[in-house]
Amino acid sequence: MTNTKSIGQLLSRGILSENPIFKLALSMCPAVGISTTVMNGVMLGVAVFFVQVFSSVTISLFKDQIHPRIRIPSYTLTIATWVTVIDLVLAAYMPGAYAKMGIFVKLIVAFAIITMRLEMFACKEKVKDSFWDGVGMGLGFLVGMVAIGFVRELLGSGTILGYDVLGFKPLLFFILPCAGFFVVGLMMAFFNWIEVVYKQKRGVRS
């Protein structure tokens, strides 16, 4: 892991080959719980994106000062600090969105994906690499949330971003929490299938 990587590699890894939701299967609670609409997905995705980037950079900056025995408390404190800051900023400048998402923003402290990236990457690598890794992972989470939200909103309420596109409600089931599992599972399978097909094709060509 010590060899230097290009920005593109770091980004694509977070979004595609190590996508937090579809590949690493981390932070599934929000993916299942609140991805009922595209807007919810975007909101939480953006919040997680900022927390991930800020925390990665912070930990990477102070990686030599962190005593190895208190790594996890330090990570948790860092994450909690940034979550609080984002929570305050949202409450102050986006009150409408905050009224809906407020409870979930506070939960970001416990998201496995952020701690995992700090432990796996940020505490070993350079600040610049950590930044791009954070951006990649944050975007990967955002993309995952939006994709799940898209499917669930379209099939559950027949709308996209609140606009009526189908004119009817196909399956109310998709807005219920249990449907989150089905959608995540199916999309995971879909992503893996694409990867397998892609690799096979490339294998045939070479």
């Binding site: 025995r69 208190i70 330090s74 102050a92």
Partner: protein, 301 residues
Amino acid sequence: MKDIMSIVFRLTLTCLMAATVMGAAFIITNKAKKHNEHVREERTMYALLGYSESKPAPVSIVLHQIYRYIITEGEVQFVSYLIPTGSGKSGAADAYSLVSLDLQGKMVDQKPVAIDGEKIREREDRDKAVIAVAGPGKEVRFADHTIIVTDNGKRIAYLLGGKFPGFKTFIGVMLALDPQYTMVGMEILEHEEDPGLGAEIEQDYFKNQFQGKAFTTLKGLKVVKEPLPADYQQALEGGLAEADMAKVMEQYKEKDIYALTGATISSKSVTDGVKGMVKKFAYRLDSLDKVLKEQQIAVSF
């Protein structure tokens, strides 16, 4: 041992840094947050009066804030009202007076209060100004906040905020009354009742039951443990055409409040709380109006 010292030192430092960052963020965002709360409160008020963003209130509508204080001096208690005495037009200079009444409703004194319209909203600044005016050796306690709504100088509604005990903790509400003390609307602002049971008090089919209840009905309002009639429920939730809705609401105007299933205590506390608030408000406003008229104090409402 050296390890422990280092860990303690580093953790303390981390906590201090985290606290600094969070504190800075709080200081920066606090003003905007307070402003949002104020905007939300104002929106609730206008919504109760029947205005919304698509149907904004005309400029002739003015809200006059009245703050009630209890001032105790030894054994004697006074009820003091902080009232606006300016012209009431927006843009005109703000002027406020503290009018004190004794418990029999006789005026004790009237003193001008030096405070501006922005500061009066902040509880701390307001309390300080009232304490300064009341003089030393007196205990000053803030009681409640009422708003008188005027349209071209004519009173059209009263908005009163208040809190009363619910099943678990306090329930905060805002009521809108018309000048005859008939209930125009009610909004539940805060509560901690049980989700699915007592928390249903904030649903339309419960809170709208208070709508249109006249003062005489309100005074004797009770809770009945009967199922909510289907047509009434539809009307309360706005599921009927406007003409039908008015008819159904008229039909149930003098009926008691139908209790929520499984939450009789919450229903009863809201009903009793609202009843008490309206009754006390009507009494207090009548005595205040009488004094203002007798003493010929010019007020903006």
